[in-house]
């Protein structure tokens, strides 16, 4: 383990953290701007030009608000809840390949923190862990509504994880590898996995919405039934961290969806442009982020278009629709693979 390697990875981790946090910050503004656009009104436009300073004002407000820990709450777990939520949200981006290798002063620098050969399962595991933040926070608040939110979050995430895992299995049958770097390399040019796995993508996308607790799956914080859901008792930056972790999760799940199904940093005619490899790596990264932003916009679009599900509808969709559909997708993928191998 040489020093240059450690410095390189450390710099990359810091850079990704900063980029993630900035994107999450401006997602809050973008969300309100998109809402304004959809509802034919201006979004926030007072703080700075086009309201660009609004996220900073909100952040400052969160920090300076009074912090209240309810008397009946379990103090340690009450603090642990938002901590777990934000940590799991931040570490899940560790295996995402952000671009091709850069060559700086004769040294090849991969734009990926860790290329482990179970990459996609790592993301899956960390996402599964994220629900502890919501559950512990809801339970520790010692409030019936919070507990209801926590219980809803737990059952929702368990139900949709199954369908998500099954849709990934069908994808892995096509890619034959679990490493995200290799999956992206296979999609060079325009050979995106969305063309071979359209049904799988639909299932994965729906489950990603459910895992992020986004509308129409935001029942853990359904304000018409549960006041604020799991974060009813939270105030100040602890509430801010919960909201922030939601936006970071949205960013990371967009990145995962782009990596798995939309070619990651690949774009058509990437190799016929005749540019230097370093320039192509940076261009690929820009394209990757543009794709991610398109997905974040999609998340927001859905939020301001669809109403929330009822809880029984949510469970029916998860267990009676998505799981059988994803199993059918696996069978279909297997049949097509065999037919392709034997006849073509």
């Amino acid at each position: 383990m040489e020093l240059a390697f450690i410095i390189e990875k450390f710099a990359l981790v810091i850079l990704i953290f900063v980029v993630t946090l900035v994107i999450a910050m401006y997602s809050t503004l973008a969300e309100r701007k998109v809402a304004g656009f959809m509802q034919d009104r201006y979004g926030p436009d007072r703080a700075g030009p086009f309201g660009m300073l609004q996220p900073l004002c909100d952040g400052g407000k969160f920090f300076f608000k009074e912090e209240i820990i309810p008397a009946g709450a379990h103090k340690a777990l009450f603090i642990l809840g938002p901590t777990i939520a934000i940590i799991t949200a931040c570490i899940s981006s560790a295996v995402i390949p952000w671009g091709r290798d850069l060559t700086i002063a004769g040294r090849v620098v991969p734009l990926q923190v860790a290329d482990i050969n179970v990459g996609i399962l790592y993301v899956f595991g960390v996402v599964a862990l994220g629900v502890y933040g919501i559950m512990l926070g809801g339970w520790a608040s010692n409030n019936k509504f919070s507990l209801m939110g926590a219980v809803r979050a737990a059952s929702q995430s368990i139900s949709y994880e199954i369908a998500m895992g099954l849709s990934i299995i069908a994808m892995l049958m096509v890619t034959q590898t679990l490493s995200l770097r290799e999956i992206v390399e296979q999609q060079a040019g325009f050979n995106w996995n969305i063309w071979v796995q359209p049904l799988g993508f639909l299932i994965f996308c729906t489950c990603a919405f459910a895992e992020c607790n986004r509308v129409p799956f935001d029942l853990p914080e359904c304000e018409t039934e549960l006041i604020g859901g799991y974060h009813t008792e939270y105030s100040s930056m602890k509430l801010g961290l919960y909201m922030f972790s939601e936006y970071i999760n949205m960013f990371v799940s967009s990145a995962v969806m782009v990596t798995l199904y939309f070619g990651g940093y690949n774009f058509p005619f990437i190799d016929s442009l005749g540019l230097s490899p370093n320039l192509l790596a940076i261009l690929g990264m820009v394209i990757f982020f543009l794709k991610i932003f398109a997905f974040i916009f999609f998340f927001m679009w859905i939020r301001w278009t669809l109403p929330r599900f009822r809880y029984d509808q949510l469970m029916n969709l998860g267990w009676k629709m998505l799981i059988p559909l994803s199993i059918a997708n696996i069978v279909l993928t297997g049949v097509i693979t065999i037919v392709k191998d034997t006849f073509f």
């Binding site: 777990l77 559950m135 926590a150 219980v151 737990a154 368990i158």
Partner: protein, 165 residues
């Protein structure tokens, strides 16, 4: 090696905490941490697939369900069932039997030589899959049937209950 001893210490420490804490939710959380240390053990053994599956299935799903059930139960001091002395004595005897069995089996145990690992890459996904679907195909299929049976049984139990109401 020092990493192993440190992680092993953590596993045993948190396993003991799981047993000795009074609060049921704390107990589950300590168990989650114990499973996390197991994940580290698997990574140290270069069994990446097992590590990540342990992470997803045990920490991410099973323990979430444990926590889910415990949160809905009202575990107060007054509702705690009182156990008679007879049950306590039986418990002590059963525990001692377990200790004797473990001690006996530990005596027969030989420490394997960690340097001469037969196949260091066995824990990687593709190798593991090939071994499971060729050499150990029958045990693999039988265990999957076992799991299916348990699942059908669980569904059946849940169905009967709703009929009574």
């Amino acid at each position: 090696m020092s990493v192993f001893y440190f992680v092993a210490f953590l596993s045993i420490f948190f396993a003991l905490m799981t047993i000795f804490t009074k609060n049921a939710v704390h107990s589950v959380l300590y168990l989650v941490i114990t499973f996390f240390t197991f994940t580290i053990h698997y990574i140290l053994l270069n069994a990446q697939f097992l590590a990540v599956v342990n992470f997803i299935v045990y920490m991410g799903a099973i323990m979430v369900l444990f926590l889910f059930v415990l949160m809905l139960l009202n575990l107060n001091k007054d509702t705690e069932p009182l156990k008679s002395n007879l049950i306590k004595i039986i418990g002590v005897i059963a525990g001692l039997c377990l200790v004797v069995t473990i001690a006996g089996s530990l005596k027969l145990l030989e420490t394997s030589n960690p340097v001469v690992l037969k196949d260091p890459g066995i824990g990687l996904v593709s190798n593991l899959g090939k071994v499971l679907f060729s050499e150990f195909l029958l045990p693999f299929e039988i265990s999957s049937i076992l799991l299916l049976t348990a699942m059908v049984g669980a569904v059946l139990l849940a169905k009967n209950e709703t009929k009574k109401i």
